[in-house]
C-alpha cells in the first residue's frame, strides 16, 4: 500500500478521542446494547492499532450490515420514526465504519460523521455547558484532521492542538456574524422529539401522588426575572398553571370544552368580556419567564396575569395558553396585577360546575362538612374553620403518605391524616363543594430560589404545588392554601425547608447540587452556573427572528427588504474579499523583506529609463549594465549595489544595528537615485 494513504498513528489516537467525545453526550439516551457495540468497536479498533486483531473480513461486514438493517427496522417499529431511533442508527453506522477504516479516505468519512454527531447533540440540548463541550469536541476533531495531514513521523501533540485552535478561532468571527445576521427561516420539516415519555411537570389531571412524584425531581421548571425586581415574599409566589374543576372521587381534571387546547380561535372568544369580569388596582408587575420544554400548551404566571408576548391567550379561568405545544425552551413576557378580583358575578353554569361532586362515596366527609357549616355564620368563616381543623388536628405534611382506601377523602380526613399538597387541596375543595360553596383546585408551582448573580429566580419541579380557589359572594375567587395551614414553612420558606428530613425529597436527583445546598461554596457554584445558563438562554438560544429584527432596527433604522439585501450582499462580499486576501497572501510574493522591497524599487525606478532589472540578473551585473549605459549614475548605483549586497549577502545576522543603519542609507540612496533620474525620465 502506498505510504501516503496510510493512517498516521498519531492521527488515529486523535480520531478515537473525537469519536468518544461525540458519542459521550448521546450515551445517556442510547440503549445499553448500542453502548456495548460502541465499546466493542472502539476496543477492536485499538486492538487493530496494537496489531493484535485484524480488520473485519467480508463475512463479518455483511453480517454487520444485515444486523444494522434488522435492528433499525425493529427500532422504527418499536419506538417509531424519530430522533432517538435515527440517532441510534447513525451511531451504529458510525462505530462500524471505525473498525473498517484502513485508508485516509475512510478517516475523512469518519471525521465528517463526527461533525454530524456533534450537531446531533444540539438537537437535544442547547445549553451553555453543552455548547462549550461541543466547541471543545469540534476543536479536537479539527486537531484530528490536522494530525491526519501531517507527516506520520511527527508526533507533536501540542503543535497539532495549537493549529486546530488557531483554525477554530479564525472561524469564530464568521460564526458570530452569521449568527447575528443569517435569516432565521422556519424549518421546512421538524424531527419528532420523543421526549414526552420521560418529561416531568404538572399535568391537567391530579390524582393523589401526582405532585408528590414531582417532589422527587430537582429538574428546572422555569426561570423568572422581574423587570423592576419587586421584592415579593416567598409566600406570594404562586405560579398559577391550570384550574381543575371536575372531580370524580379520585382525580381532579380540567373540564375540556369541545375544542382541543391548540385551538386558539375558540378560546379567544372568551377574551371579549375579560375587562368586565375583573377588577384590578395598582400597577402591574412586569416580568419575563423562560420555561423549559413541557410538551404541554399551558404556561405559568402570577395571578392575575395578562400576556405581553404574542401567540398567547387566556382561557375563561384565567389560565394562559401558548399557541401550540411547548416543545422547546420558551421565553415570554407577562404583566400581573396582584390586587385583583375576578368573576364577582358567577354564572349559573359556572356555579354548578364548581359545586359538582360524585353522587356516591365519602359520606363521612359530607356529614362532617354540613355539621361544621351549621356551626359558623358565613361561607368565609366556614373556609377558615376547615383550615383551623387541619391546623388543630395532627395532620402531617409528607411526600410518602399512607395509601388511601376507596373513600379517599374520608380515609384521608379521619384516618391517615398525612399527605402532600394535592391531598389537602383535594380534601379542601371537596369540603367546600359539600356545602355548596363553589371551589376548585389550582395546580402550578409555589416558591422559587433567588439567584443573586443575575437577579432572577429559579423554579424547580419540586416546587410543584396544588392549592384552591373558593368563590365568595362579593369577593369573587379567593385563593386558599390548606397546605399552609398544615405546614406554614412550606409556603413561607419553601419546600426545601419543609421537607428537609423527608428521605423521598429529591430522591431522583441524588447527585444534584441542590441536595448539597447546605455546603456554601457548592451552592454558590450552582447558582453561578445557573446564572451563566440563564444569560445564555436569554441572549443566545432565544435569539430569534424578532430579536434579530429589533437589532437591525437599532442599527440601521427602518428595516426594509432592500436594506437586508444590501446587508447580505455586503457581508457576502466581505467574506469573499477576506477569503480572497487569505488565498493571495499564501503566495510567497508578499513576504518581501524591506531590503528586497527597496532593491526592487531601484529596478522600478530605472525601468523608467529603459534599464529595468532583468530576470535572473545578479546585483553586480545589473550595476555594471546600468553604469555602462548611464555613466552619470555610477556613483549612486554603486553605492546602492554595495549597500544591498552588504545587507542581503554579507551578514548572516539580520536585525543588527549595522543592518538598520544600512537599510536607512539604502533608502536614502534610493531617493537620491529618484532625484537623479527625474530629469532624465522627463527628457525621455
Amino acid at each position: 500500500m502506498d505510504i501516503s494513504y496510510q493512517i498516521p498513528r498519531a492521527a488515529l489516537i486523535w480520531v478515537l478521542i473525537s469519536v468518544i467525545l461525540v458519542i459521550l453526550p448521546q450515551s445517556i439516551r442510547l440503549p445499553a446494547w448500542i453502548i456495548a457495540i460502541v465499546v466493542i468497536c472502539i476496543t477492536w479498533r485499538l486492538l487493530i492499532f496494537a496489531g493484535k486483531l485484524n480488520y473485519p473480513g467480508r463475512l463479518v461486514r455483511v453480517a454487520v450490515v444485515v444486523f444494522t438493517l434488522v435492528v433499525s427496522a425493529t427500532q422504527m417499529r418499536n419506538i417509531g420514526v424519530g430522533l432517538d431511533s435515527a440517532a441510534g442508527l447513525l451511531t451504529l453506522g458510525f462505530v462500524f465504519k471505525l473498525i473498517e477504516m484502513r485508508h485516509k479516505r475512510d478517516i475523512y468519512v469518519v471525521l465528517s460523521l463526527c461533525f454530524v454527531m456533534a450537531m446531533v447533540a444540539f438537537l437535544y440540548s442547547q445549553s451553555a455547558v453543552s455548547t462549550v463541550y461541543i466547541a471543545i469536541t469540534v476543536t479536537i476533531i479539527t486537531a484530528a484532521m490536522v494530525a491526519l495531514n501531517r507527516s506520520s513521523l511527527i508526533v507533536d501533540t501540542g503543535g497539532t492542538m495549537r493549529l486546530a485552535l488557531k483554525i477554530i478561532l479564525q472561524a469564530v468571527p464568521l460564526t458570530v456574524i452569521l449568527f447575528l445576521v443569517f435569516p432565521r427561516i422556519a424549518p421546512l420539516w421538524a424531527v419528532p422529539l420523543q421526549t414526552s415519555a420521560n418529561s416531568t411537570g404538572v399535568t391537567d389531571e391530579m390524582s393523589p401522588g401526582d405532585i408528590s412524584q414531582l417532589g422527587r425531581s430537582a429538574a428546572l421548571a422555569f426561570r423568572v426575572q422581574f423587570e423592576n425586581s419587586v421584592p415579593l415574599l416567598h409566600e406570594n409566589l404562586y405560579w398559577r398553571g391550570l384550574v381543575l374543576d371536575d372531580f370524580d372521587g379520585a382525580t381532579w381534571r380540567r373540564t375540556r370544552s369541545r375544542s382541543a387546547y391548540g385551538n386558539a380561535a375558540q378560546i379567544a372568544n372568551f377574551q371579549f368580556d375579560w375587562e368586565d369580569r375583573i377588577r384590578i388596582e395598582g400597577n402591574p408587575i412586569l416580568y419575563n419567564v423562560i420555561l423549559e420544554p413541557t410538551q404541554q400548551p399551558w404556561i405559568y404566571a402570577l395571578h392575575l396575569a395578562q400576556p405581553v408576548s404574542k401567540n398567547m391567550f387566556q382561557s375563561r379561568n384565567f389560565e394562559i395558553f401558548n399557541n401550540g405545544l411547548i416543545s422547546q425552551r420558551l421565553s415570554y413576557d407577562l404583566s400581573s396585577y396582584r390586587n385583583n378580583q375576578t368573576d364577582l358575578i358567577l354564572l349559573d353554569s359556572q356555579r354548578s360546575r364548581n359545586t359538582e361532586l360524585p353522587e356516591e362515596g365519602n359520606s363521612q366527609s359530607l356529614e362532617f362538612a354540613r355539621q361544621l357549616r351549621s356551626s359558623v355564620a358565613t361561607d368565609r368563616d366556614f373556609a377558615y374553620a376547615v383550615l383551623a381543623y387541619f391546623q388543630r388536628n395532627a395532620f402531617f405534611y409528607t411526600l410518602n403518605p399512607a395509601l388511601l382506601g376507596e373513600n379517599r377523602i374520608d380515609d384521608f380526613l379521619f384516618n391517615t391524616l398525612e399527605g402532600f399538597c394535592e391531598h389537602y387541596a383535594s380534601a379542601f375543595s371537596f369540603l367546600m363543594r359539600a356545602v355548596g360553596i363553589p371551589s376548585r383546585v389550582v395546580v402550578g408551582y409555589q416558591g422559587a430560589e433567588y439567584n443573586r448573580f443575575e437577579d432572577y429566580m429559579m423554579v424547580y419541579q419540586y416546587n410543584a404545588h396544588a392549592w384552591n380557589e373558593v368563590w365568595l359572594e362579593g369577593e369573587g375567587w379567593i385563593r386558599f392554601d390548606p397546605t399552609g395551614a398544615v405546614s406554614p414553612e412550606r409556603i413561607q420558606l419553601g419546600v426545601e425547608e419543609a421537607l428537609r428530613n423527608d428521605p423521598a425529597f429529591m430522591e431522583e436527583a441524588f447527585f444534584s447540587a441542590a441536595r448539597f445546598g447546605g455546603v456554601d461554596w457548592i451552592n454558590t457554584l450552582r447558582l453561578r452556573l445557573d446564572a451563566i445558563e440563564y444569560e445564555w438562554n436569554r441572549r443566545v438560544v432565544n435569539y430569534d427572528e424578532d430579536v434579530q429584527f429589533e437589532l437591525f432596527e437599532r442599527l440601521f433604522g427602518d428595516v426594509t427588504e432592500q436594506k437586508i439585501l444590501i446587508l447580505l450582499i455586503g457581508l457576502a462580499g466581505i467574506v469573499i474579499v477576506a477569503v480572497g486576501f487569505t488565498v493571495i497572501r499564501i503566495e510567497p510574493r508578499s513576504k518581501h523583506s524591506p531590503i528586497v522591497k527597496a532593491y526592487l524599487n531601484i529596478g522600478k525606478e530605472l525601468e523608467k529609463v529603459g534599464l529595468g532589472r532583468r530576470q535572473g540578473e545578479g546585483p553586480l551585473d545589473y550595476c555594471d549594465r546600468v553604469v555602462d549605459a548611464r555613466p552619470e549614475l555610477a556613483g549612486v548605483m554603486t553605492e546602492l549595489t554595495d549597500l544591498y549586497i552588504s545587507l542581503s549577502y554579507r551578514s548572516k545576522s539580520p536585525g543588527s544595528e549595522q543592518q538598520k543603519r544600512d537599510l536607512k542609507d539604502l533608502k536614502a540612496a534610493l531617493n537620491e537615485l529618484r532625484f537623479k533620474l527625474s530629469p532624465i525620465a522627463r527628457f525621455r
Binding site: V596, L600, G616, G618, P619, Y649, R650, K652
Partner: protein
C-alpha cells in the same frame, strides 16, 4: 561545436576586490596564462575546482591545450605531476601500483603507480575499460588507495584532471552520469580568440612556454585557500536563490532528472571558493552564476537528450528563468 566559447562572461572583471587572495589568484592566472594564451577564465575555473578540493573533467577536441593547462597548473602551484594516458588495455594496477618481488631483499615491495602524485592528468579517460575507470574514480573519491590489503593515502592536495574527447566515440566507454557526478566541474577550453591565436602562431611552439611558468603558490597556500573557502559566508538570501535553482531542475518536465544533493553541495562549494578568489568573504549571486554552467552542465540532462550534452541549454534556462530575488 563543443569548442565554441559558450561562456559570455569569460572576463570576470569588475567583481574583484583586491586582497591577498585575489592578488595571489591573479598572479597565478597570469603565470599559467603565459602557457595557455587567452584562457584566463578557464584557468580561473580550474583553480576554483582545485581550491574547492574537487576534480576536473576537461572535455574538448584534441590539441586544444588540455595537457598544457594541467602541466602549467602543476608548475605554477608546485605540485608533483603525473600523466596517465588511458588506453583500452590499461589495467587498475597500472594506475594504482603493484608489488614486485625483489630478489635482493627476497620480499615483495610496492611500486606506487602514477596516481601517487598531487596532480594527475588522466588523459582520454573514456578510452579505457569501466574497470580501470572505476579504480581511478574510487581513488578520487576516497583519496586513498587499497592495494593488496594495505591502505595507502594519496598526497594532499590531490587533484585529478581527466580529459575526454567528445567527438569520436567509437570504441570508447563514455562515463555514465553516476561517475560524471564525481567531477566537481566539467570544463571546455574552446578555440583561442584571434589575438591569442596570432600570438601563438608568432611563438611557433607552445611547449617551450610551459617551461617558463614559475611557481606562484606553495602547497600551504593551496591548502589555505581550501580551508578559507569553507569559511566564506552564504546568507539566507543566497541560500534561497540556490534552493530555487535546485527546485527548478527538479520540478520542470524538460529536466530528465533534477540535481542531486551532491550536485547542490558542489554548487555551494564552488561558489564559496569563487567568492574567495574574487577577494570577498561572502557569496553573491554572480558567483553562483559564474560557476553554475561548469558545475551542473554534466549533471543535467534534458528529457529528449540522447548523448548527454544538452546540459548547457538547460543551465541557460536556469540562469534566465530563476530570479535572483524571489
Amino acid at each position: 561545436m563543443f569548442s565554441l566559447n559558450l561562456d559570455k562572461k569569460a572576463d570576470s572583471r569588475a567583481h574583484l576586490v583586491e586582497n591577498k587572495f585575489s592578488l595571489q589568484v591573479q598572479a597565478t592566472v597570469n603565470e599559467v596564462g603565459k602557457a595557455l594564451l587567452g584562457k584566463n577564465h578557464q584557468i580561473r575555473l580550474a583553480l576554483c575546482c582545485l581550491f574547492s578540493g574537487g576534480h576536473l573533467l576537461i572535455e574538448d577536441l584534441p590539441g586544444m591545450g588540455k595537457t598544457t593547462l594541467a602541466y602549467a597548473l602543476a608548475k605554477a602551484l608546485h605540485l608533483n605531476y603525473n600523466r596517465i594516458q588511458f588506453t583500452s588495455d590499461l589495467l587498475p594496477a597500472d594506475i594504482l601500483g603493484i608489488s614486485i618481488f625483489d630478489q635482493t631483499t627476497a620480499k615483495f615491495s610496492f611500486h606506487p603507480g602514477p596516481i601517487f602524485s598531487q596532480l594527475v592528468l588522466a588523459d582520454e579517460i573514456n578510452r579505457t575499460t569501466p574497470k580501470t575507470q572505476s579504480a581511478l574514480l574510487e581513488a578520487m573519491e576516497e583519496r586513498q588507495v587499497s592495494v593488496e590489503g594495505e591502505t595507502r593515502s594519496l598526497p594532499d592536495p590531490f587533484f585529478v584532471i581527466a580529459t575526454q574527447n567528445p567527438s569520436t566515440l567509437a570504441g570508447t566507454y563514455p562515463l555514465p552520469e553516476s561517475q560524471l557526478d564525481r567531477f566537481l566541474m566539467r570544463l571546455r577550453l574552446g578555440y583561442p580568440d584571434q589575438r591569442a591565436e596570432r600570438e601563438l602562431l608568432e611563438m611557433n611552439t607552445e611547449r617551450d612556454k610551459v617551461k617558463e611558468v614559475q611557481q606562484c603558490l606553495s602547497n600551504d597556500a593551496v591548502l589555505e585557500f581550501r580551508r578559507k573557502s569553507a569559511e566564506v559566508n552564504a546568507s539566507d538570501a543566497l541560500l534561497d536563490y540556490v534552493q530555487r535553482l535546485i527546485a527548478f531542475t527538479r520540478g520542470k518536465e524538460e529536466f530528465h532528472f533534477g540535481l542531486s544533493p551532491r550536485g547542490s553541495l558542489a554548487i555551494m562549494r564552488a561558489s564559496k571558493t569563487w567568492a574567495l578568489m574574487c577577494g570577498r568573504n561572502h557569496v553573491v549571486p554572480e558567483d553562483v552564476q559564474t560557476i553554475l554552467p561548469n558545475v551542473v552542465e554534466h549533471r543535467l540532462r534534458a528529457t529528449s537528450d540522447e548523448d548527454g550534452h544538452t546540459g548547457a541549454s538547460l543551465v541557460q534556462r536556469l540562469l534566465n528563468e530563476v530570479d535572483v530575488i524571489e
